[in-house]
């Protein structure tokens, strides 16, 4: 557009008709453009800006925060959320990075294995989480049945103790999302030029050295973006906790997302619920800013 104006402007002084015509088409273009972006702009205003504003307003009453901070469930929920993010996200991404190297192997077996390995991602979350819930049932679950058949001892009541229940939720999260992130890293590895590996091989690099000096530096940026994105999504994850532990036993495995919904709807206090969720902002806002900057710069869309 800048170019067309500079070319047109000398003619503007001498001949007005082409300019006027051009202006006419520009005006028409602008109308079209306006019409084209209106639906999305309207959706963004009505369903993103408005809820954010309304949510901030709902969570702006100091009394809600006083009630929240005096609730004994809340500190435990914060710790749970941090543990969930720390172990869930990092274990998952580390495993995904390593497994993506394994899936780079050639041969039919790796391809078949990858197809099977993708199943947790292709199956909707709810059936899987419900299955994990029943699988870990202390009395009749598959895991404890196996333990009984093999060792003739009772397995631990997985979902009836705080530590095991939180561990089960983290396990469910990793199980569900490991395939997705493995695929992402697999795509990242495939984008690394093979010539680099060949050059390293000529120089006598071992497999470990190739990983350390070729793969790692080239994928570090991607790994960081994935960590941030995965953290944000895990922070908002409701289903894993809701369907694997249900927040139990005795409300001890809630995370902020599920406790917010509980406070807002089961206790019928939207202000308290919103306050619960909003206490994640000190973590969420820096992540969002960093991530938006990264995603805009890298032109990588995940």
């Amino acid at each position: 557009m800048a170019i067309t104006t500079t070319i047109d402007s000398p003619g503007a002084a001498t001949n007005t008709t082409p300019l006027a015509r051009r202006r006419g088409t520009f005006a028409a273009d602008k109308l079209w453009a306006l019409a084209f972006v209106t639906p999305y702009a309207a959706i963004f205003a009505a369903f993103v800006i408005y809820p954010i504003g309304y949510g901030l307003w709902l969570g702006s009453d100091p009394a809600s925060y006083r009630a929240l901070f005096s609730d004994p469930v809340y500190p435990r929920t914060v710790v749970n959320t941090l543990l969930y993010l720390l172990f869930g996200v990092n274990l998952k991404l580390l495993l995904a990075l390593l497994l993506s190297g394994f899936f780079m192997r050639k041969g039919w077996w790796t391809k078949v294995l990858l197809l099977v390995f993708m199943l947790p991602w292709a199956v909707p979350a709810l059936p899987s989480y419900l299955s994990i819930n029943w699988m870990l049932n202390g009395q009749w679950g598959l895991i404890n049945n196996i333990i009984w058949q093999v060792a003739q001892v009772d397995g631990p009541p997985w979902l009836d103790s705080h530590g095991f229940a939180l561990g089960s939720v983290i396990y469910g999260h990793i199980w569900k999302w490991l395939p997705f992130w493995t695929l992402i890293f697999l795509a990242g590895r495939m984008a690394v030029s093979l010539e680099l590996y060949e050059a390293a091989e000529v120089d006598g690099a071992s497999r470990l050295q190739k990983f350390r000096y070729v793969t790692l530096p080239l994928m570090a940026g991607m790994y960081l973006v994935c960590t941030m994105l995965s953290t944000i999504w895990a922070l908002g994850d409701f289903n894993a906790v809701r369907f694997i532990s249900g927040g139990g036993p005795a409300l001890s495995t809630h995370v902020l997302a599920t406790l917010g919904i509980r406070n807002a709807f089961e206790l019928g206090d939207p202000g308290l619920g919103m306050a619960t969720v909003l206490t994640a902002l000190p973590l969420l806002i820096p992540l969002v800013i960093l991530l938006m900057r990264q995603l805009r710069r890298s032109e990588v869309t995940i």
Binding site: F44, Y54, L126, P127, Q139, G236, A280
Partner: protein, 287 residues
């Protein structure tokens, strides 16, 4: 040289043992919860509460119950499947329409305020969806849309369109702008360029995003649970969630219903896998 040859064979043997070990671990890890769904779904009620590892007397009883809707929590199961399909398809169509129009305007018509829209999409993409559930519930009440599928459709479209815009933008970069310019000189309007040039060339990306949006809304639980409280509008995930409310959930019925619910996305996923290749596989993130 001679000393090295057995060494190589030894290395290879170690590495192939490693591959088989890792494969076995991965298979058990991946298939255990899935085996559990199938195992429970073909058990009779008494056997569900037993210490069996394999189904002793497999029976299709639970599937029959689901098919005939012969249990009170499953009374409207096929209606719920229909609702899930309806919402999924409307969401997919709307995401395709709105996403393609927006990305066409940003990247092909190059409007000056395009960066604002890109940022808006980016922001929506990185906000955890569940954090807006509480205000959303209140807003839908104000719009008079409680217990209306339109409310859920609106949410899904809001959260799926940003990803559509990115992918369309990325994919559209490979279509030369000269095509648009040539059409302009021939007197085509932006609308004609959109329909005659842009959309046909974007077909593969449209298929991928349509699938993504369909799966996203098919998998949605939280918003459907909050916004569709009951009656004829409930979707399958909401109905599955209701099983847990009672004391003794009939796990075999629940698992049979869950399997039937999981089949369409599985078919779509494995059917369209090649079409969703490369960056497009990155789709099902928010599901």
């Amino acid at each position: 040289m001679t000393a090295q040859r057995p060494n190589h064979a030894f290395d290879r043997a170690i590495s192939s043992v490693g591959v088989w070990l890792l494969s076995a671990v991965l298979l058990v890890w991946t298939l255990l919860p899935i085996y559990n769904i199938i195992r429970v779904s073909i058990q009779e009620k008494e056997e569900v509460l037993s210490t069996s590892v394999y189904p002793i007397a497999p029976s299709p009883h639970a599937f029959e119950v689901v098919f005939r809707q012969a249990f009170w929590l499953l009374e409207t199961f096929w209606n719920q499947m229909g609702n899930s399909f309806y919402i999924g398809i409307v969401v997919a169509l709307l995401v395709l329409a709105i996403g393609s129009l927006t990305s066409f305007t940003i990247s092909r018509m190059r409007i000056r305020s395009g960066w604002m829209l890109t940022n808006a999409a980016l922001l929506t993409y990185v906000i955890p969806m569940s954090f807006l559930a509480i205000p959303f519930y209140g807003i839908m009440g104000k719009y008079g849309l409680t217990n209306n599928p339109i409310a859920v459709i609106a949410v899904e479209v809001t959260f799926a369109t940003p990803y559509a815009i990115f992918i369309f933008h990325q994919y559209g970069a490979s279509i030369p702008l000269e095509l648009d310019e040539a059409a302009r000189i021939d007197g085509a309007s932006p609308l004609q360029i959109f329909f005659r040039i842009y959309l046909p060339l974007m077909a593969p990306a449209l298929v991928a995003i349509g699938t993504y949006a369909l799966l996203l809304s098919w998998n949605e639980y939280l918003y459907a649970f909050l916004l569709l409280s009951g009656g004829k509008v409930v979707t399958v995930p909401v109905a599955l969630g209701k099983f847990l409310v009672g004391d003794e959930a009939p796990w075999n019925y629940l698992m049979a219903a869950a399997i039937i619910y999981a089949i369409p996305p599985l078919l779509i996923y494995y059917g369209f896998r090649r079409k969703m290749s490369g960056g497009l596989t990155m789709g099902g993130v928010k599901g």
